[in-house]
């Protein structure tokens, strides 16, 4: 099946950090990170390009970031402000197409195959969007243009910051050949290692494996790998896709049975989940804990409340569920994967009371 769509992936450059540098000129040209303080075991949510030169990355513990860059400036995130700018950027998107799929505040896919300004060239649409974003928000973004979501996303990463990169159907296979497999969305640390064990490091190595082999070793995800290696991704751009659930999970380096170790892992996952939730500005009222045992048997346990979870109830409920599973239901069974997710978001309220400690990120 041929794919003649025109898909653009827009990724705002170092979004939170750039907004802070925009609003607080004293940080311009300086290494800046947005995140939680190290004394509260905070992590970096975004780093300016000046900070990235020192090796500061998002999701890195703040303490580590300061080790790498002692003169780093750290500010607390201001999500309402990021949402405001994100809304402005989406306003620009809507001038070109209704097929917009937001991924996060700073990231979206646009299907411009048939666009509102009747511009046949996806590249020229991307150029216009880029320049309008710069004009209206004084922020830069990177755009990837291709014929599906996967390639558009890979393309947007190619020339960061302020980049525009196009992958045409003719260029796709040459481009993909040398792409490291870890760049394929869905390939995490554990899958990457497993692929490496089979001698697969770049996409070209993947091409040598047939669908059956991939299915055998990677299950359903094997099929995704098979397609992506060939530049195939038929997923449509789903406009304003409602977020149904947000979840994070981790596969351990070795199977865990120790409850204290599991508690710590759960706590780290919950922090990650909270960050992800913040990024989307929502929280749901159903929590789901997922456990995969050493023998690959998988269980999930959920709990719903009448009100959306907040930080402390999420931590507390997750821990209680974990203890229920590990001490009562399956005592002593080695666990290879732990996941936690939130769903049941409901309608966002029309009126929200802002809070000093949540919205201004003042420690309480």
């Amino acid at each position: 099946m041929s794919d003649s769509r025109k898909i653009i992936h827009i990724d705002m450059d170092a979004f939170y950090a750039s907004v802070e540098q925009l609003d607080q000129p004293q940080f311009r040209g300086k290494p800046l990170a947005v995140g939680g303080p190290s004394e509260k075991r905070g992590v970096i949510a975004a780093a300016s390009y000046e900070a990235r030169k020192f090796g500061v990355r998002s999701a890195m513990p703040t303490a580590e970031a300061f080790r790498r860059c002692p003169e780093l400036n750290l500010v607390s995130p201001r999500f309402p402000r990021y949402r405001e700018i994100s809304e402005q950027v989406h306003g620009i998107f809507r001038c070109y197409t209704d097929l917009i799929e937001p991924v996060a505040l700073d990231e979206a896919w646009l299907d411009v195959s048939a666009n509102l300004i009747r511009e046949p060239s996806g590249t020229r649409v991307a150029e216009r969007i880029k320049s309008e974003i710069l004009e209206q928000t004084a922020l830069t973004c990177s755009a990837g243009v291709s014929y599906n979501k996967f390639l558009a996303k890979i393309a947007s990463e190619e020339n960061k910051p302020d980049g525009l990169f196009v992958i045409t159907p003719e260029q796709a296979s040459a481009f993909l050949k040398v792409l490291p497999v870890r760049k394929i969305p869905g390939v995490g640390r554990v899958t990457e290692e497993k692929l490496r064990d089979f001698g697969i490091e770049i996409t070209e190595d993947l091409l040598k494996k047939d669908a059956e082999w991939l299915n055998q070793h990677f299950g359903k995800f094997g099929m995704v790998l098979f397609q992506r290696a060939r530049g195939i991704d038929h997923r449509p751009v789903e406009p304003e896709r409602e977020t149904k659930s947000v979840s994070v999970e981790t596969t351990f380096d070795r199977n865990l049975t120790n409850l204290e170790e599991l508690d710590l892992e759960l706590q780290n996952l919950t922090e990650k989940l909270l960050q992800r939730l913040d990024r989307n500005g929502i929280c749901g009222s159903t929590l789901t804990l997922k456990l995969k045992f050493a023998d690959f048997e998988q269980i999930t346990r959920s709990e719903s409340r009448s009100l959306p979870f907040d930080r402390s109830s999420l931590l507390e409920t997750g821990k209680r569920k974990l203890h229920q599973c590990c001490s009562r239901e399956y005592p002593g069974r080695p666990i290879r994967l732990l996941g936690i997710g939130i769903s049941n978001f409901g309608k966002p309220p029309r009126v929200v009371q802002l809070d000093f400690f949540e919205d201004l990120k003042i420690p309480v």
Binding site: R350, V351, L354, F357, L360, P363
Partner: protein, 375 residues
């Protein structure tokens, strides 16, 4: 024990005692209170009424004619319900060795069972190093102007009271916040010594009870404290409360320093307008939008099934048009504790905290987080 007490004083004292008694009745012993006779002070007989719920204790000393000294421990509510109906001038309380208590007033005669005194967690006043003296009027004002902003639910325990600390200018600072609003009073006091305890968090319940009986505490209240407890003593009444453990957040970053949009507003006008506009509100946040234009403040409600409402009146404002949403109740709470004719409101943006103060008196300020509204 055999004592004779003025009935009016007895009723008033029992009323104070009863408010401290544990209403949950989770521990039966705490539904009692104690009366004990004190050494004669200059020929004047004194008895001490005391009650505690472990967190908060009250000790009240009143004059009595003591025939036989001693002490009793007895159900507070039962005694109060009876005594409040007494008509005669004096009431006699007499205990027997079999734990019976005889109470008589005029022709009324009661015999009530009592509890072994040793079983009751009898509160006592301690010698504490840190202290401050504050006029009762100022204390009442400090409580009134901060307590409303404290947190009522248990989500953040350290916010369930009023933080009392000392400023660089050697004044007391009273602060309360529930995350949505902050109220602060900077109050000079007669005398103070914070010693090694730079900040304490006084629980809501204690301050509410103290506030109720402030008028009975004489002109000056003496507050003594350490890092565990605080004692409020004035006239014949002493309160002792356990403090809230934990640290109160540093609220300095909450107080905006650069809110350039300022408007002077007639306080009563705003109160009336808010009541009118919020009347049709169905949202529990009771949202109201304030819209400032040159010389004019417009208030607007959300459209609901009960209709819509708006109001406007003249104010002092000469900035750009500006709009911001608030919880009506939060606005009314602060407007109702203020006494000035005019208030000064300072804004920056619809998403950032606003300040409300008395334009002629800088001891008080309140900071309010807005509502994010979508209508």
């Amino acid at each position: 024990m055999d004592i004779l007490i003025n009935t009016e004083i007895l009723i008033s004292t029992l009323q104070n005692v009863i408010s401290v008694i544990d209403k949950s009745y989770s521990k039966p012993i705490l539904s009692n209170f104690m009366i004990k006779t004190l050494e004669n002070e200059g020929g004047q007989g004194m008895v001490e009424f005391s009650a505690t719920d472990y967190e908060l204790s009250i000790i009240e000393r009143i004059p009595a004619e003591i025939t036989t000294s001693g002490s009793i421990c007895i159900n507070a509510k039962r005694v109060f319900d009876i005594a409040r109906e007494f008509q005669a001038k004096e009431t006699r309380i007499l205990s027997t060795e079999q734990l019976w208590v005889h109470i008589s007033c005029g022709a009324s005669e009661l015999r009530l069972p009592s509890v072994e005194v040793g079983l009751y967690p009898q509160p006592n006043i301690e010698e504490l190093k840190q202290n401050l003296k504050i006029s009762t009027v100022d204390l009442a004002q400090c409580i009134d102007m901060t307590l409303f902003a404290s947190q009522t639910n248990e989500a953040r325990r350290n916010l369930m009271g009023v933080a009392l600390s000392i400023t660089d200018e050697q004044k007391t600072r009273w602060q309360a916040t529930d995350g949505h609003r902050l109220a602060q009073v900077i109050q000079p006091v007669e005398e103070m010594n914070f010693g090694e305890v730079p900040e304490i968090i006084l629980p809501r319940k204690a301050l509410m009870e103290i506030r109720k009986v402030c008028e009975l505490m004489g002109e000056i209240v003496d507050i003594t404290f350490d890092e565990r407890v605080a004692q409020f003593s004035g006239n014949r009444i002493h309160f002792k409360t356990r403090l809230i453990e934990g640290k109160f957040p540093n609220c300095d970053p909450i107080i905006p320093k650069d809110n350039e949009r300022k408007s002077t507003i007639h306080r009563e006008n705003l109160i009336h307008s808010l009541r009118i506009v919020s009347a049709i509100s169905t949202d529990k946040l009771r949202p109201v939008k304030l819209n400032l234009q040159s010389g004019l403040l417009k208030l607007e409600s959300e459209k609901t099934e009960f209709g819509e409402a708006s109001d406007e009146f003249e104010v002092n404002y000469d900035g750009e048009p500006f709009e911001i949403g608030f919880n009506t109740r939060y606005l009314l709470d602060v407007l109702n504790v203020m006494k000035s004719d005019e208030i000064l409101m300072e804004f920056k943006s619809p998403m950032s905290p606003s300040v409300i103060r008395d334009p002629n008196n800088d001891i008080f300020l309140s900071v309010l987080m807005p509502l994010r509204t979508e209508w």
